[in-house]
Symmetry: C2
Subunit: 224 residues, 2 copies
Amino acid sequence: MVNYGNTEGEVIFIVRQERLDDAKRERLIEAAIEEFAERGFDAASYNRIIEKSGLSKGSVYYYFENKDSLIATVLDEVCKRFQEVFKSLDLPTAKDEYWSVAWEYHERVIMFLSENPVVAQVMYRISKEDARAANGGSLCGAHRRLVGFMDDLLIRGRELGAVRSDLPIEVLQRVMHAAGEALSSEIVGAYPDTDKDLWRAKFERFMVTMHDLSKRMLTPEEVV
Amino acid sequence: MVNYGNTEGEVIFIVRQERLDDAKRERLIEAAIEEFAERGFDAASYNRIIEKSGLSKGSVYYYFENKDSLIATVLDEVCKRFQEVFKSLDLPTAKDEYWSVAWEYHERVIMFLSENPVVAQVMYRISKEDARAANGGSLCGAHRRLVGFMDDLLIRGRELGAVRSDLPIEVLQRVMHAAGEALSSEIVGAYPDTDKDLWRAKFERFMVTMHDLSKRMLTPEEVV
DNA sequence: ATTCGGTTTGACCGAGCGGTCGAACTATAT
DNA sequence: ATATAGTTCGACCGCTCGGTCAAACCGAAT
């Protein structure tokens, strides 16, 4: 797996980070995730992150060259956590397996996002700020890692004849991603909000809708 | 038409703005549109806008109470320009008219966005920064105005039986908007890029794809 | 007891931010 | 010619930003 723009800086910082106490590292990264979730990467305040982490300014700058370096580290962390979700999910090997794997994928995604609302918000920020210039490199790479499984799934689906071939994978990817975001907005971030049954109902409605839309959008042209 | 959070400030500024020279007003607004397009509303620099407009700081603050006030004015301006596009487009009155009107809508949208790339970028920023808190009011209102026609079209479509009724209009709206954005990304902003025929081809491909996806997503469940 | 590399600290830096304000300018009425 | 109201101007304000740095601290080796 390529390491997109992560920690490309001076070697000295890599050495130092290895020696960094785990507890401190976690406090810093958690503070950063919260800040990025709340404000996005651009508007995030490095000062505020440092303050929230409880470390001193000097210490943080001792381990991380600058704001971008910390961003890269956090992006890597977020990607790792998300990718972990699909480690045990195999791509379909036959056409009639496709939609059940897709269902499982959507289910795992939505559960992960619901159980990790703050991380979810960061992922949301990644796809929103993706296009911009400054952190473009890291963000773009992170975005690619996040949609990696979906990409592979679409490619496999096309090979198996379960997914239309008249549109580029990238277009399908974008539309699916956009639809998923639009649909999941009212479910993610409202996890066990007082009423667990209500959430479960919302969740199941989302799954049905997402599955329905996926099939409609992706099914090969000759079938419709 | 409701005036969403626009120029709610002191009366004195309204009076002054009425007396403001048209040429100066346009220079300022155009500078602001460019800045907002490039950086978004949050990251936009009021100082930079003022500098670009050629006016002095004191003058601008004489006519606009603050940054938010100028943002509200620009939002209003952008909404007006976009809404102008549909003034001569009527909602369908029969089921078999629906898809031709939808086609016409998509065509006009994409033409407007292509011919006004900077304004398009601002509209893009509106929908991206929509969720956030600070300017939430104005941005949210502007967003509603921008998707107003699509909303009406969907509602009418449902009344005519051309659009599915099993999902809330708001969900359909979001998915359509997201799909449109995902699909149009490679065409908007690349208007007459050296090769006019190439762009025309891209445009026609977009129209076909958008229409296909719209039909797939919106068609009532019993038909599929 | 001293030295020394790794680590921690917070005062400090220049830049840019949104916003203020008193002085100067201008045009019209008297 | 003078008074008055509308307008223009840019120096200046307090604040936060990302980032620097000399001094202090600490624990292990000598």
